[in-house]
């Protein structure tokens, strides 16, 4: 798939040559720095790219339907029902002027054939499921009276209400503090086991990936640079970028004045993508070849692919 956005200077490609599969019951972690195209990938699946964005090339198949060719009306039937999404910012993802009940029941009534009373009962059931005590009172509350963790629980309840087959979680715990993070992750795990949904987990926190994911995709500058099962990634990361990401996790073992490792430089701007390997300017192994030719995704062993000239 390739996703481009219209800009003043012409089209810019935000996501390019991204291709992956996700099965029911599987959790796939998508990692990378900010600006790597993780969120654009997920919004492409939802076809929520806005007026300026479009999928230029490629196909997205979901349950036998090509999402890139579906009409807006057919997409609306999928959104919120078959494919649901949790966003990064629980503080701003709920509408401030409607009650929690209003926003939760809205989804339920839209996609499920329930009457007013049944939907309310179901909403209470969903809130209880995501660990909210006194769900009946919470239904009448406005978002601003809830904490970030509570709001994210509500978002999860909304997302899971219609039992989606695919749940896209775009940095669901980034804005939360660590203890709440753990609670939300535990909740997502538990709900995954109950529903058997596929989860696409977008994060830049490798700890969360290790905890949750079966398969990992590492994205850099709008492309997939490495794809492997979670064990291979942590045992033997191949791409220098993945290695860098793993080294920059702050550890507690050797904290004797060691400086935290960081990958030098920053992600190139999408308007000025370098020729050759997009990572070459930040890579310590870069050769002449890396500067001029772009590597392709190469299969090193089953379930492990990497886009690098080293292999």
């Amino acid at each position: 798939m390739q996703t481009v956005f219209r800009a003043d200077q012409g089209d810019v490609t935000a996501v390019d040559e991204v291709s992956f599969q996700i099965k029911l019951g599987e959790t796939i972690g998508i990692v990378g720095e900010s600006g790597c195209g993780k969120s654009v990938t997920s919004l492409s699946i939802m076809r929520l790219l806005g007026k300026e964005g479009r999928i230029q090339q490629g196909e997205i198949w979901f349950n036998g339907a090509n999402l890139t060719e579906l009409s807006e009306a057919d997409l609306r039937k999928l959104r919120g029902k078959e494919i649901a999404m949790i966003f990064q910012e629980p503080m701003t993802s709920l509408n401030p002027v409607f009650t929690i009940g209003n926003q939760l029941i809205e989804t339920i009534r839209l996609h499920m054939k329930l009457n007013r009373k049944e939907s309310k009962a179901y909403a209470i059931q969903m809130l209880t499921k995501v660990g909210i005590s006194r769900p009946e009172a919470i239904l009448k509350e406005y978002p601003h009276t809830l904490s970030g963790g509570m709001r994210q629980r509500v978002m999860i309840a909304i997302a899971l209400a219609c039992k989606p087959k695919l749940l896209i979680a775009d940095e669901p715990t980034t804005a939360l503090d660590v203890t709440v993070q753990a609670q939300i992750l535990r909740l997502m795990k538990q709900l995954r086991e109950e529903s058997g949904a596929a989860i696409m987990l977008i994060t830049h926190d490798l700890g969360i990936v290790a905890e949750m994911a079966d398969k990992v995709i590492v994205m850099y500058a709008g492309q997939i640079v490495e794809e492997a099962d979670v064990f291979s990634i942590f045992e033997k990361p191949l791409h220098p970028y993945t290695q860098g990401l793993l080294q920059s996790i702050p550890g507690t073992e050797n904290n004797d004045n060691n400086r935290l490792f960081g990958i030098p430089g920053s992600v190139p701007s999408i308007q000025r993508m370098p020729q050759g390997c997009r990572f070459h300017s930040r890579c310590e192994y870069a050769t002449e070849k890396c500067i001029h030719e772009q590597p392709t995704l190469k299969t090193i062993k089953p379930n492990h692919q990497v886009k690098c000239w080293l292999y």
Binding site: M46, L48, E72, L75, R76, K77, L78, R79, G80, K81, A84, M85, F87, E89, T92, S93, L94, N95, P96, V97, F98, T99, E106, T107, L110, H111, Y142, H144, M155, I158
Partner: protein, 316 residues
Amino acid sequence: MLPYIVRRLLIAIPVLIGITILNFCIVNLAPGNPVDMFIDPNTPQQLVEAKKEMLGLNDPLIIQYFKWLWQLLQGGFGYSFSSFAPVTHIIGERIGPTLMLTSISLTLGLLIAIPIGILSAVKQNTRFDYIITGLSFIWTSMPQFFLGLGLIYLFALHFKILPTGGMLTIGGDDNFADRIKHLILPVSVLTIAIIGKKIRYVRASMLDVLKQDYLRTARAKGLHAFIVTNKHALRNALIPIITVFGMEIPLLLGGSIIIEQIFQWPGIGQLTMQSILSRDYPTLMGLNFIAAIIVLATNLFMDILYFVADPRVKYN
């Protein structure tokens, strides 16, 4: 909520008294006095002085003020210096026509500006949006007297289909069609001025809301674009729009001096102008007092509306 309203009303009393003191000073600072305005210049000085004495204009300012305040406490604004009729009576006669003119204009303005502003924001950077923002810019910048005179020239003098002014055809039948005919031009000028300004506010407010995360959530739920815009976005965009339309409410009762003057509309605006010219202090003070009450009431009303529209607003 009720204790809050009571407290606000109590605070309004000293504010109102302060406003009347300021108004009284400003009105009296204007050069000239009522007697000079309506008396024949050849009248002997003695008679002028006698008249001044009779109207109480020779008293110190502070005494005059307290006399006025005493009248107010007894429920009146005194008598006009020019027509000698009770001020409450004069204002009462004028308020009907003003209300008719301004309430129609404000309602039309709301009904036109809000949907067009929303559409303009939703279709941002399209031809429709460019045309609307262009028109609203022209309508905002055009002086009301210019537009008013232009319309009079076009529709009253050139095409001869509408009257040049007034509220009724003199000597004609007082019927509904005749009233409508007289209303069209002044209402058009006021409405165009209102929508010119308000479209820009509605559009800006809507554009701001359309960027918010919760609208992406609403779309991700599978809601129709119409519901996303008109339920989720509009409810949020309305909050700042309340202020902007609230600011027009004083116009409702205060009238528009320029429009009423151009179209000889027998309303409050015209009365204000006449009272200023004849230095009719009691009428002016009455008009100012009513204006002050309207502004204070509008502020309170808008705060209550905020409370209704935005659940995050709390009163302590």
